[in-house]
């Protein structure tokens, strides 16, 4: 049963991200909900499931994109693995560690993805505005999404 809930949550996150980026952008900026969901899933779930969540959320983000396919899937897969390594040494449940992790991993993810773009697709067109502001927006969203995922995990047994 929990797999159905997980699919529903997965689609809900994807749809919310799509809707947000269409309707709630401020100066063209919106938090990357897919990244936030991947990070929260990696913190809350076990290693395999966390990595799987990272992969599939990245896959969804790739579906929404139009250039390179598989870039976000690889980025979030590796990020989930990184979180699995980190959370064995740090308490990722605390707000501060989530803020720091989301800031650091956002920048790392963007840089890694841009590296993939350069390698696989074409010259990078990294928007400096996004590079500078999106990590902070993500840092604001991650704790909220973590609470939501935590409640879903307790209530529905997902993740």
């Amino acid at each position: 049963m929990s797999i159905i809930y997980e699919v529903v949550i997965y689609l809900a996150v994807g749809s919310t991200y799509w809707w947000w980026s269409q309707n709630l952008t401020v100066f063209g900026l919106a938090p990357n909900l897919m990244f936030a969901a991947a990070l929260c899933a990696a913190i809350l779930a076990g290693p395999v499931k966390g990595i799987a969540w990272g992969f599939f959320l990245g896959f969804y983000a790739d579906m929404l994109g139009s250039d390179m396919f598989g870039g976000y899937a690889l980025t979030y897969t590796l990020m989930a693995y990184g979180v699995y390594i980190i959370k064995r040494h740090f308490d990722m449940d605390s707000l501060f560690s989530q803020l720091v992790a989301s800031l650091a991993l956002s920048w790392l993810s963007i840089l890694f993805y841009q590296g993939l773009v350069i390698s696989f697709s074409r010259p990078s067109n990294l928007d400096l505005r996004v590079f500078l502001s999106e990590p902070f927006l993500n840092a604001l969203v991650v704790p909220v999404m973590f609470r939501i995922f935590y409640q879903l995990k307790r209530g529905l047994g997902v993740l």
């Binding site: 290693p47 396919f69 870039g71 696989f120």
Partner: protein, 308 residues
């Protein structure tokens, strides 16, 4: 493997060993998972070089992501896509553009129909105004208040066009002019018209053909009331009422309405009353003709007289 709790007994040692094994298994599973998913991702990164994969993905993205609807305009989004799918995208774009154009044209068509109707009506009215013995200006009704539907409305001509207080306002009904009311307030670019149907409005009417004079008053409804008709008058239903030469406000001879019903004399009054259907239906009025009266200052409102 080194036990996690050195002081523990054999049972504890076994438990620690089991925990260590579980952690090791978990670590192995994580390593396998990351290798597997990373490999799949890299395959996906390499895979879209095939046209079919790229096309399927573009089709899915096109359905999911609105910004890609506009992607067909930018060839770099859809490079490597077969021509027939590209054609499909372009057809969809064209279809959307055409639907928008159809909507726009429908609005224009409605506007054109309204303009044509208005043009015909104005042409008739212009012809009529040439036949009218009074000088004046045509004005369009710009505002009717639902709460005061039979009381007043605003027209788009004001002092700048020579409209003055108490100027007579005529409406056109079936090719004939009829009394609609008089100008009550004048502003530089618009004016307020007090309708004859207003409860506060009245005009001295003359009943054709005898020329008996009576007071036509508004009732706040679509119907007028005629008072002070001499009891000896042989008033018939259908008799026409026009403005009387005895009334100063309105030029004589303007149709006011037709008698609809005559009421018998009350025992305590020495005159009779009648209902009059106005010559002009205020519900269908779009334009009115404001007759310049050039009335003496004494008949103008105090404020207007001061302005002059």
């Amino acid at each position: 493997m080194r036990p996690l709790f050195p002081g523990a007994g054999e049972h504890g040692r076994n438990g620690a060993v089991r925990t260590g094994q579980a952690m090791s298994r978990e670590k192995d599973a994580a390593n396998y998972a990351v290798v597997f998913f990373a490999a799949v991702s890299i395959l996906l990164l390499l895979f879209p070089v095939s046209k079919i994969a790229h096309t399927v993905r573009i089709a899915a993205s096109y359905s999911l992501y609105p910004s890609l609807h506009y992607g067909a305009r930018y060839t770099h989004y859809v490079r490597n896509v077969p021509d027939n799918f590209l054609l499909l995208l372009e057809t969809d774009q064209e279809n959307r553009a055409l639907k928008e154009k159809v909507r726009e044209l429908e609005v224009r068509l409605q506007n054109a129909a309204a303009a044509a109707g208005e043009g015909e009506r104005l042409a008739v009215e212009m012809g009529l105004s040439r036949a009218l013995p009074w000088k004046g200006v045509w004005a369009r009704i710009i505002n009717k208040t639902p709460a005061d539907w039979y009381g007043s409305f605003f027209v788009d001509k004001g002092a700048e066009q020579g409209v003055a207080i108490n100027d007579t306002v005529l409406g056109m009904e079936q090719g004939h002019a009829g009394l609609a009311g008089r100008v009550l307030e004048v502003y530089p670019k618009f004016s307020k018209v007090l309708l004859l149907t207003n409860g506060a409005a009245s005009a001295v009417g003359s009943i054709e053909p005898e020329g008996l004079e009576a007071l036509v008053e508004g009732k706040g409804t679509w119907m007028l009331k005629m008072n002070y008709i001499p009891e000896e008058a042989s008033l018939a239903e259908g008799a026409e009422v026009v403005t009387s030469p005895g009334g100063l406000l309105f030029p004589p001879g303007i149709p006011v309405g037709k008698v609809k019903k005559v009421y018998s004399r009350e025992s305590f009054m020495n005159f009779i009353t009648a209902d009059v259907v106005p010559s002009v239906n205020v519900n269908t009025l779009k334009e009115v003709f404001v007759v310049r009266r050039n009335l003496p200052k004494e008949l103008l409102g105090a404020r207007q007289a001061e302005k002059k």
